[in-house]
């Protein structure tokens, strides 16, 4: 069993600059922030290393940090420009019974994160959901389609973003009716 700080030190030594920081100030659980294009490599290391052995990905969730600048569009509607979208990974080791939370942040304009689908199979649908709801592109994901929303949902329209605007029409039909 290892504490978050020890895991952070191991990762820092192995990956250097790709492991950005550890935040223990947030109450309840510490979070390690890593680089979005190194998450696959780090995930593979975490899963295979004997001392860490994080064999189960409990949860993967996209989050809109909404830390960008608020601007009004031409219809006087608030949109967010700049800032970041994040992905949180909650890992658990069944063997050692320890947990850790990883976080990656990526730019809102071009959100790209490496997929961990080949490390933990269960990331497959979770990543599709994060893509569906936030538009986060998971590089090297084998089947990145919408999952909860209809397949023909409007391009570039991601419902869980904080500046999402309810559409007036869906395929030419007025909503609500």
């Amino acid at each position: 069993m290892k504490e978050a700080q020890e895991i952070f030190d191991i990762l820092k030594e192995k990956f250097g600059e790709s492991v950005i920081e550890i935040n223990t100030e947030t109450p309840v659980e510490p979070i390690i922030t890593v680089h979005p294009l190194k998450i696959h490599e780090i995930g593979e290391f975490l899963r295979t290393n004997e001392d860490l052995y994080f064999d189960s990905l409990m949860n993967l969730s996209g989050v809109d940090d909404a830390n960008g600048e608020k601007v009004k569009d031409d219809q006087e509607f608030d949109t967010i420009s700049g800032g970041t979208l994040s992905v949180y990974y909650h890992l658990h080791s069944v063997k050692h019974n320890h947990k850790i939370t990883l976080k990656v942040s990526t730019g809102r304009e071009k959100p790209e994160v490496e997929s961990v689908e080949s490390v933990w199979k269960c990331a497959d649908w979770h990543e599709r959901e994060a893509y569906d709801m936030f538009g986060i592109i998971f590089l090297n994901h084998p089947d990145l389609r919408r999952i909860l929303m209809p397949y023909d949902w409007e391009e570039g329209s991601y419902p869980l973003r904080k500046d999402y605007k309810n559409p007036e029409f869906y395929k030419g039909m007025k909503v609500p009716y």
Partner: protein
């Protein structure tokens, strides 16, 4: 000379009795043999996570009821535990005991539906009626406690919506003595029935390392022979005070991790839940169930991932608080959502009729897959 064959695409659902709701399976079949299954979900999507961002913390609780509608109590349980941990609330003993009792009764009720409808899928109609007759008794206990039979909104942050009825303890004890022999009846009627065993043994075998990599939890993981239950391995509430076993699949009539094992683990789990309720019901301390409910529910800035052992597996709530009255983000890790992913792996190479048996044995609830 050989006959030229090609793969055929067959749609199962969205309106199909064996899909337990609105789920569409796209089967690629070669003759009668299934080569690939692609599940299409989202028909029941009700924007839970978007709604939650516009609600205050207590207002989210009724929405959690509607995700896994067969285990609403447990959905409340996970959410309130998460918010309580975020706020650092100590919950009175009485509340803890009542929550565990309700949670375990809910687990029994949920497994009754799972087992009953599984029999129905396979073609056995009678056990379904018997199980629903008994489930009715649990629902009556819930109705007596909080007025609702399916969607309870019973567990609140810091407490409960109502104290238990004065007759609750007596009637629960009566239910335990009434139901225990009925488990044997289910075994006689269905579990060890030759036709049922032939349909389910050695079908859809799930090896344990595949299960862990796919994130499979709950009875499905335990049926593969892996002893992992959050009530023991990552205890929450007061589960560490009770004495109970974790049943695992042993491959009694087939191979470890087949459909029959997944069924039988649920039967055994009902017995263990009865055992927990039996221990807890005698120990309920006196107290006020609403004394710890805060006037204003406004957690500090922070994040929490709280997981509990739902009847279907690990139910996780990832809550981000930005220090206001509304949650910044609530993400639900629904057990059925993750368990559903394994379907393709399990189904390949089986017959079309076996897909019904495999899907039923995973025990999905579409309400929580689509949220």
């Amino acid at each position: 000379m050989s006959i030229k064959t090609e793969e055929l695409v067959l749609n199962m659902g969205p309106q199909h009795p064996s899909t337990h709701g609105v789920l569409r399976l796209e089967l690629q079949i070669e003759g009668e043999v299934v080569r690939k299954v692609t599940p299409h979900i989202g028909y029941l999507h009700r924007c839970f996570e978007k709604h939650a961002e516009a609600m205050t913390y207590p207002q989210v609780i009724p929405y959690t009821d509607r995700m896994d509608y067969l285990a609403s109590m447990y959905n409340n349980f996970g959410y309130v535990l998460g918010v309580e941990k975020l706020m650092g609330i100590e919950v009175p003993e009485r509340v803890q005991y009542i929550r565990v009792i309700m949670g375990e009764l809910q687990r029994i009720a949920s497994h009754m539906v799972a087992l009953g409808t599984y029999g129905l899928d396979i073609g056995a109609f009678t056990p379904f009626l018997y199980l629903f007759r008994d489930r009715e008794k649990i629902l009556s206990l819930f109705e007596m406690t909080c007025g609702a039979r399916l969607l309870y909104n019973y567990m609140w942050v810091g407490g409960l919506s109502h104290d238990i009825h004065p007759d609750f303890v007596r009637l629960t004890k009566e239910f335990i003595t009434y139901f225990r022999p009925n488990i044997k009846e289910i075994n006689d009627l269905l579990t060890f029935n030759k036709i049922f065993v032939d349909r389910t043994a050695n079908i859809g075998i799930l090896p344990v390392d595949t299960a862990i990599n796919y994130g499979i939890t709950g009875p499905n993981l335990r049926a593969s022979g892996f002893k992992f239950d959050l009530r023991k391995n990552d205890p929450y509430s007061i589960y560490d005070r009770f004495d109970f076993d974790i049943p695992v699949g042993e491959g009694m009539v087939g191979t470890v991790g087949d459909c029959w094992d997944r069924f039988y683990v649920r039967v055994l789990e009902m017995e263990q839940s009865l055992k927990i309720v039996e221990q807890a019901i005698d120990q309920i301390p006196e107290g006020d169930v609403q004394s710890a409910i805060p006037k204003r529910i406004k957690p500090p800035v922070g994040t929490i991932y709280q997981r509990v052992e739902n009847p279907r597996g690990e139910l996780g709530y990832f809550i981000i608080s930005d220090g206001t009255l509304n949650p910044f983000r609530v993400k639900v890790r629904a057990p059925s959502f993750v368990n559903m992913m394994i379907l393709d792996e399990l189904s390949r190479g089986h017959l079309v009729a076996d897909i019904v048996a495999i899907l039923g044995s995973i025990d999905i609830v579409l309400g929580e897959i689509d949220r």
